[in-house]
Every structure is written in C-alpha cells, then in structure tokens.
Symmetry: C2
Subunit: 219 residues, 2 copies
DNA sequence: TAGATTGTTAATCGATTAACAATC
DNA sequence: TAGATTGTTAATCGATTAACAATC
C-alpha cells in the first residue's frame, strides 16, 4: 500500500503496537504475527496488518514481523527516533505526576521545562527542573527547541496557556484540562480528559436494583 | 428516535456536552442551540442533535435546548444522578493527583477508598482517606458499595489489580496503566493512557528541517 | 407571520473485517 | 512440500453530515 492519508485512528494505534513490541523485545522475542498482536491488544489482525502496510512492507509472508525491525520503523513513523523536547505548564499535582512519570523518556519524549503562573510555585523544584514563570515560556521554548506542550492547569486557565504556547512556537499540545481549547489549524491538539472517560464509564453500569448510596441514610 | 443501541462514540460525547452545559448554567444561560454547542465544542450541530435524540426529545423546535433540563437528562442517561462510589488502587503520584482532583465530586463520582500493595504507602493519608492494603479491597468494595475502580499502579501490576477488582465485584474500570488489561465481557474497561496521546502527537509534528536536539552536542 | 431550530431521513464518508493470492 | 502469514482488494459495517419537513 504505502501512503494515502493516514487516519487518526491508525496513528493512535501505533504507540499501542510500539509499547507491546518493546515488551516483546525485552523478553527477547524476535518475531511476532499479526494474530498474536491482535490477541494481546484486542484488535483484529487484519486491521493491524493494514495499519502497518500503510507505511511499508514490514512483515514477511509466512513468518510475521521482526520485532526489533518493526520497533525501529514505528519509531521512525512516529518521529520519535530523535529526542523531542516537551514543556509542561501547570506544576500542580497532575503536573508533578506527569513529570515524575519518566517512562516516556525511554520513548524519546523529554520534559525539559516546567512553568506555572503562581508565585508560590515558581522556583520550586519538580524532579530536576525548577518551575519557571510563564513570562519565560517564549524564550525557553526557543532556546531549548521545545516542540510539544502539556497543559495541566485548571480549566479556566487552559485556553490562555494554549495561546501562549502557540505564540511561543509550540507545534502540538496535550491538554489535560476538561475543556475544548482552540488553536490555529496547524497546531495539533490532543485532549487527555480522564473525567470524560470516568463519567462515560457510569453509563455502562448495570442499573441499580434496589441499591442505595453508602453515605446518606435514606431509611 | 429513542433507543436502538447507542454507540460508544455517542456515549463519550455526553460528558462533553454535560460539562459545557454546566458552565452555561453557572453563567445563567437558560437556553442553547445545537449550533452554539457545536461551535464551542468543535462538533457538527447535526451530530449533537442526533446524539441527544437517541435518548428523547429534549429540545424545542425554533428555540433550542433548555440548559437546566438537558443537564438533568444527561445526568440521568449517564446514571450519575446518584452518587457512584469509586475505589482507587495505586497511591503514587498519579493516584494522589486524581484523588486531589475533586471536580468529579460535583459530578457524583466519589473516591471513597484508596489501596496500595506497598507497605510504605499503607496507613498514609491521601486527602481524607487512609491508604488500605489490597487485602481489604474485597470487603471495602462490598461495605461501601463501590462500583467503579481506578487503576494507577505500574503496568506490571495492572492486570493483577484488575483481577482483584473483578473478583471484588467492581463493575467498571478506568485504567491508567499503559497496557491492555483483560476482564470478563460484563466488565467495562476504559483506558486513559496519556502516553498514547503524547506519542501519537509526535506524528503530527512538522518534519525537522535541520533542527537538532537541545542537549547533546553533535558538532 | 417570519425566523429559528429541532428531530429524522437519506446520502456520504470512512473505518473495520473477511477473504485470498502471493510467498516465505 | 505443506503450513503459516503477509499485503491488499472487496465487502461490510458504522458513524458523520446534509437536508428538510415540522413546529415553536
């Protein structure tokens, strides 16, 4: 196959493949079939083959995919074969959690600066990074070649922060605030709104059959 | 329209509608049209009307939707018109961030218990809650009528925790570990894997034109 | 009334899955 | 060779969007 336009659904599955392939690699598994992948990742094998075939002929008929080779290829496709520098804005609990979470360093995503707009936070340390005032965003983005911004501020500040990021030349934003932020079309925005995930989960609960809340006593 | 089977895509948009409607309510806006909603939420107005029409005739032709009424209805549909008790397993940074994040209390989702399997964590306080050992999960779930579980443990523990949750009678799981966890089909699982969001973001970056990494000096 | 906006059908668009020839 | 598995086409399935009669 090789190119067409790649749909977002496909792109979002690539990191999922990558993650599991890396686990296989660690376990010294050298080859994997679309069927095995599908089983493990709850995906249709045909879909996996099709996804990968958009980008090239990575497999071998009768054999499957070479794990190490496919890891390399997916990393290239995702453009994480080089280190990508990331700025985090919002040094609250979630921001701290994210910057402590160093798993993505391995994936060549590196948080290299943390910002906040509250005086109290500025100057404090998060891991090895000093929290900087928002005024320094623009310069730091340029100096440190920061390309992605993560927003972990309260929702009422999220749009303002996004605007600053865009102005500073950031190319893509991961937004944790439960709000739809607006940006020019060349800026890619992903929303990581777990409150949506949580609330929609409730829909799938079995209807109560005479259950009541724990706390307030209706009797 | 009224019922058929409701697709997951529809259900996932309901919390998004709800959130913005609640904001409108706070601002004392009483009525809103699908067009206004669409503009604000980056969605097609026809899609919004269709989504809502699955559940009933909530709007008025020529007028739009009554904000307060629609909030009520969506809360009913999502089954968050009653308090839903939630257990959090994993008292690390992310777990702390989530339990501090009290926004969903307003949405009738309430974290009523926190668990961890590390001795060091057990007995410490997270907000008003004492971290309990995993052994108490089963009993606490029953006693406190906990229906949803949130997993914020490292990936290698996630499946084990999920198994415990299922055994304890939890009905739905929000999983933050970057791994596909398996459970019986009647258990609903949502994955809130922000590393996927972050990595897939890189795909959309403009290709480098002679840029290099910040840190290591190639010259 | 005239203008606005819903609910719903039909048309379009896109994504997933099945099937199979090619080939290791 | 026989068995396995890819890459890809065709078929299916599902979701989004346009259009418009109904009606406030």
């Amino acid at each position: 196959m090789k190119s067409d336009k790649i749909s977002e659904a496909v792109v979002r599955r690539l990191p999922v493949y990558l993650r599991y392939l890396q686990e296989l690699y660690k376990r010294e598994v050298t080859t994997v079939s679309s069927q095995e992948l599908g089983l493990k990742l709850d995906l249709n094998p045909a879909q996996i083959r099709k996804d990968l075939a958009y980008f090239g002929d990575f497999g071998r008929k009768g054999i499957g995919y070479d794990v190490a080779y496919l890891i390399d290829k997916i990393r290239q496709i995702l453009k994480i074969d080089q280190v990508i520098n990331v700025a985090l804005v919002g040094a609250g609990n979630l921001g701290q959690a994210l910057s402590n979470y160093n798993r993505y360093v391995k994936d060549n995503m590196k948080i290299v600066a943390v910002f906040d707009s509250y005086d109290k936070k500025i100057g404090t340390m998060i891991n090895t990074l000093t929290v900087q005032p928002m005024e320094e965003l623009q310069n730091t983005v340029k100096e440190r070649n920061i390309r992605i911004g993560i927003i972990t501020v309260p929702d009422f500040e999220a749009q303002r922060v996004a605007d600053c990021m865009v102005e500073a030349g950031i190319e893509a934003i991961l937004n944790f605030a439960p709000i739809i932020i607006k940006a020019p079309p060349h800026i890619r925005i992903h929303t990581a709104d777990f409150t949506t995930d949580l609330l929609s989960l409730a829909y799938y609960l079995e209807s109560e059959e005479g259950k009541e809340e724990t706390e307030d006593d209706k009797s």
